[in-house]
Symmetry: C2
Amino acid sequence: MTSSAADGAVPNPEREFVTGHLDDLHADLDAWLRIPSISADPAHAPDVAGSAEWLAEALRRTGFPTVEVWPTAGAPAVFAEWPSADADAPVALVYGHHDVQPVDPLELWEHPPFEPTRVEGPDGPELHARGAIDDKGNVAMHLLGMRAHLAATGRDTPAVTVKLIVEGEEESGSPNFPDLLREHSDRLRCDVVVVSDTGMAAPDVPSAVTAMRGLADAEITLRGPAVDLHSGSFGGAVPNPLHAMAELLAGLHDAEGRVTLPGFYDTVRPLTDRERELMGRVPFDEQAWLAGPAASRVASGEAGYSTLERIGARPTAEVNGMWGGYTGPGHKTIIPAEAHAKVTFRLVADQVPADLGEQVRAWVAANTPPGIEADVHVPAGGVAPCASDLDSPAMDALLRSIAQAFDTRPDQVLFTREGGSGPEADLAGILAAPLVFLGAGLPTDRIHSPNERVLLPMLHRGAEAAAHLWRELAGVDFPR
Amino acid sequence: MTSSAADGAVPNPEREFVTGHLDDLHADLDAWLRIPSISADPAHAPDVAGSAEWLAEALRRTGFPTVEVWPTAGAPAVFAEWPSADADAPVALVYGHHDVQPVDPLELWEHPPFEPTRVEGPDGPELHARGAIDDKGNVAMHLLGMRAHLAATGRDTPAVTVKLIVEGEEESGSPNFPDLLREHSDRLRCDVVVVSDTGMAAPDVPSAVTAMRGLADAEITLRGPAVDLHSGSFGGAVPNPLHAMAELLAGLHDAEGRVTLPGFYDTVRPLTDRERELMGRVPFDEQAWLAGPAASRVASGEAGYSTLERIGARPTAEVNGMWGGYTGPGHKTIIPAEAHAKVTFRLVADQVPADLGEQVRAWVAANTPPGIEADVHVPAGGVAPCASDLDSPAMDALLRSIAQAFDTRPDQVLFTREGGSGPEADLAGILAAPLVFLGAGLPTDRIHSPNERVLLPMLHRGAEAAAHLWRELAGVDFPR
């Protein structure tokens, strides 16, 4: 994965600069990753604020003339802008987030999650820490990328106006982000949004994400007896809410692996033949993928679709948590009063998160037995799915940038779909701008799991591609 | 519920004594109930030991010439013996326990669980506390009962040799009790075991328990991915152990409410027509029962059986606890690595607890999907079911004693079955003695639940019946 002008290839001053300043990138990332900016845990609110301040200072140090920390009703976001001296230059807005997932179960981490640790892996050096790639790595690469762009082009200002919006609540569902976008839509105005919160298919497979799934979540409570009952006195004669919950959740999927909520598939955009062909080109060693973090021997899911299609292009339902009754040591012979479950749904274009509330309620109501009362909580909001245009000039510029960083041709850069979710649909909708995705993650990076990592050679390529991108986008004639 | 010789009925000196010394009973129970002898919680081991010491002292104070605290590998038991001066007198062994259930959820208690509180209820005064009837009330009534027997008969020693064995681990499944019985089988030798850990059908319905269910428990762990996975990256493509657990537990019962473990019903002794007729005589207001602690509008369970039959005479399976994945505030978009469940089975004659291990393992193995690994833990031991002979001389003596205490005829004392479980089958088996049941509890006493109580008039009747029982048993010609 190394190459340079000395090999006889075309000159690549962006790479020269990146390669010469990797220590800066590593030092920045090490400092930032030590801040436990877990947005889901109120106890870490000061850390999330501290993470925003750290990033603001790093952006100022990089040279951004405008850097502001924007408060929200929740965690603060960071905004930065570096205008191009060319008055008509396109405007690109980088999106990322500075908050991270919780770290439990802590005991499964090989190194403390907020003490970044370098580990030599089979594909090169890795940095292990919570947020290493999701999303501090993906944001930090833009610090070095911007410096490389300026150094390589000999400019004082970037070839395109570069803005960044880096929020602090992505791992909590970005509840205040749409309001923030609306409030600051003037200052965030852009011709293209560059999403840096995703990754590529494999270390040797340069690729671009073209879609992300949306997200809706529900919490279901089933209530039976008013209090926990003695299972000897009552067992076998009154409804047990744990039995009812098991039956309810067992019916969440049918025998074909399809989600059984009424109307769930009504607005799902079918895959075209071309999309299936493009997805089929992505090399995917299913057994290796399963044997990795999945640690399973079998794939499962909706019948009639490949694993990559199931993850990227089809909606899903997963029970994320389930609890009720006695969970301590030994046994306690009760019929518990309550059972609980948390369920999230991944959505694809053109599903609407707001539809899920009614669908979940109808499904629970139809599957709650007599004697059990159901309470369904579906938070407003959710995350809409989004998709990029595969044939836009901005996409062409992205593919050229990635190709240069990976020493290949633009038509060799593959298209992938991201199974995860973020506020990208809000960015595209509220700012009325197309999306392109530049991220340095890998499916094997264990994001949201213990031992999250970034593969450092991927991060270096990502920083270089970012540097190329500002030059490549300068030539795009965006409609205005 | 009051009557006396002054009403023109037969003289009843036992009642005279009991009625004249209720303060002693109440004071004893108040002191004992303040000791939080929760055997399931290792932090309360000193309290369980203190509870044994309290009882030993109370028995000495009552006059028992032999009182010993017997250590076990777990919590201590209390043994006492008061030999009859009549060398050939029958020997009766009272069984009870001095440990209590845990008290969570604490917030649902109207009064602190270890501060006994007198409450005027619709059926008379109640005493609220953990252990009020299960089982400290049922044991404490023998202190006053023995004094009433001696006073009423004018004897220095009881008419039968009375022994007590009061264990400290019943609420934890009596793991060391069989060994204790075997170790001390000589000193525990008896002609009849009087079990005082149950109750009657209703305040105005004198009755005798004739059977208790057995118990076996299992903990099931299902494992999927090696670590919690990001539900965006993997959702819909790898097996989710929570889904597998829901499907497994949803299949624990069939559409008729029958337990689906292979072989589960093979050794179940069918109810005879006479037994069904006797059970049918027990007044049972199902709607009132459901509206009480059950707080449900519907009964459920195995098709073809009444609610009382389902509880007393049929085996059942209940999920007591279920957990896995994320259970904190908000949502966490994971496919969890593991799912867990605790299941207990209530058994009836002639099921064998040791058979459950194989049955559960076979059932789990047959219902675990590909990609999920199952781990089944079925502790050795369990509790065997037991049943009394309805037509024995000891049963006749018991019925006469209860009838006197409740001012009725022996043939008006009904037979009930206890849905709960205890080590009674071990007592009967290891000591080779028949069982009779004398207990003052009620189905509405909320045992194992918040606000456990004893109805004091029932406890007073129980103490009187105990006093009558020693006199009545003296005339029984036990085979030796």
